[in-house]
Symmetry: C2
Subunit: 241 residues, 2 copies
């Protein structure tokens, strides 16, 4: 019998499953008192616990113990993007990026962006499902939508060991991401809206030391760009490992 | 005004748009006689033509002339996979792989595969849409589902300049794809079903000189594996270009 896995950010301070998990555990998986379960905290740790009481809203557990701990990943990817009109495309991207491994996803609105608000809860749910499925132990952090200007402000001081880059459609083309990435610890990468950054926005980014890069000859959709960037950074680290 | 793009595999032998395009052109885009359009043949060529007669089933054009030709890509990716239960996941993968660029997609059923048939028409439609959107000029070829044994038979003779590889979950892990790929002309890559290849299948593949590789520490979904493989080969070529 395989052990069911649930998400719980603070297993040691908690004694029952989250409401949606309680429902799923009792009505779908039919867990019983005495069953062992696994709990992921989304921060690299896996716990074992024992179900003590089954309830569709508040299924209780105890005897929580740490059984596995993954070291902090050697690098962190922070993706910033202007969300697509279709929410579904963002959900797919979150699923794929979580499978590959990503530290945080931020959204912004800019001159030509199509969507000014985004429901983070749905995205987090997608990420939790991907986490359980992929055996990846780090849940991405999601940040409320803000403006491109705010993101530039927050990253005004450029840290050593960090790279600041943005996807840019230009003629002649900028270097591809793979040639720009230096192996480091943190990557902050911006993807513009389907209508791209305005030239004013691009100029501001360049003035503030964000490096432009090309995503190659194809015009990638926003969510494809997010997947490609996340995956490329992983590939570049793997071949050097 | 931007020029509308349609797909037509043989523009020089043809004088009207495909039925679905005729409908879309007249009812949605409202093209008119005299309008210029672009036609993609999916084999690297782009043509210009002039609409002569508008009809929801058979919109006619003439004055077809070649306006752009892309050279054959320097490498070709042939992806072979056991389709997922949810057809939607295959459609997403086809969209993303077409955006990145892929030569052919083949499906097979094996010991633990979840789906024994697949509708290629829907996938081709997805690929055509991705082609128009991405400005990529090569449409992937789709092949009817066959057995893993058939695929091994067809690729029994291993060609120079081609690499034959398969995604494999093993302990200890095989080398990652990025370390295995040699820059070449053709890549034949197999992805197993969610339940992976049976050990008998893996052993047969190894015996027939298919090289096993690891997709990293995460357990990737089938469609994520297809996207990751296609993209990794592109990244590896880009950084050496």
């Amino acid at each position: 019998m395989s052990i069911y896995v649930f998400f719980e950010p603070n297993p040691l301070q908690q004694s029952y499953l989250r409401e949606e998990d309680s429902f799923h555990a009792t009505r779908v998986l039919r867990v019983k008192a005495g069953d062992l379960i696994h709990l992921l905290d989304g921060k690299g740790k896996k716990f074992e616990a024992k179900i003590t009481q089954v309830d569709a809203k508040k299924t209780q557990f105890d005897q929580v113990q740490l059984i596995h701990q993954t070291e902090k990943p050697p690098f962190q990817i922070h993706l910033y993007l202007a969300p697509t009109k279709q929410m579904e495309r963002m959900e797919w991207m979150v699923e794929k990026c979580t499978e590959f491994g990503i530290h945080s996803i931020h959204f912004f609105h800019s001159r030509y962006s199509e969507r000014k608000e985004i429901k983070l809860q749905r995205l987090e749910k997608t990420a939790i499902a991907a986490l359980k499925q992929s055996k990846n132990l780090f849940l991405p952090q999601f940040h409320e939508i803000s403006s491109l200007t705010d993101i530039m402000k927050k990253n005004q001081v450029k840290l050593t060991g960090s790279q600041y880059m943005f996807a840019h459609i230009a003629e002649p083309a900028d270097p591809v991401l793979g040639k720009l990435v230096k192996l480091g610890e943190e990557y902050h990468v911006l993807v513009g809206p389907e209508g791209d950054f305005s030239s004013e926005e691009s100029n501001q980014l360049i003035a503030q030391d964000w490096l432009p890069f090309s995503l190659g000859k194809s015009i990638l959709r926003t969510e494809t760009a997010g997947i490609a960037i996340t995956h490329a950074i992983h590939v570049l680290h793997e071949i050097q490992a």
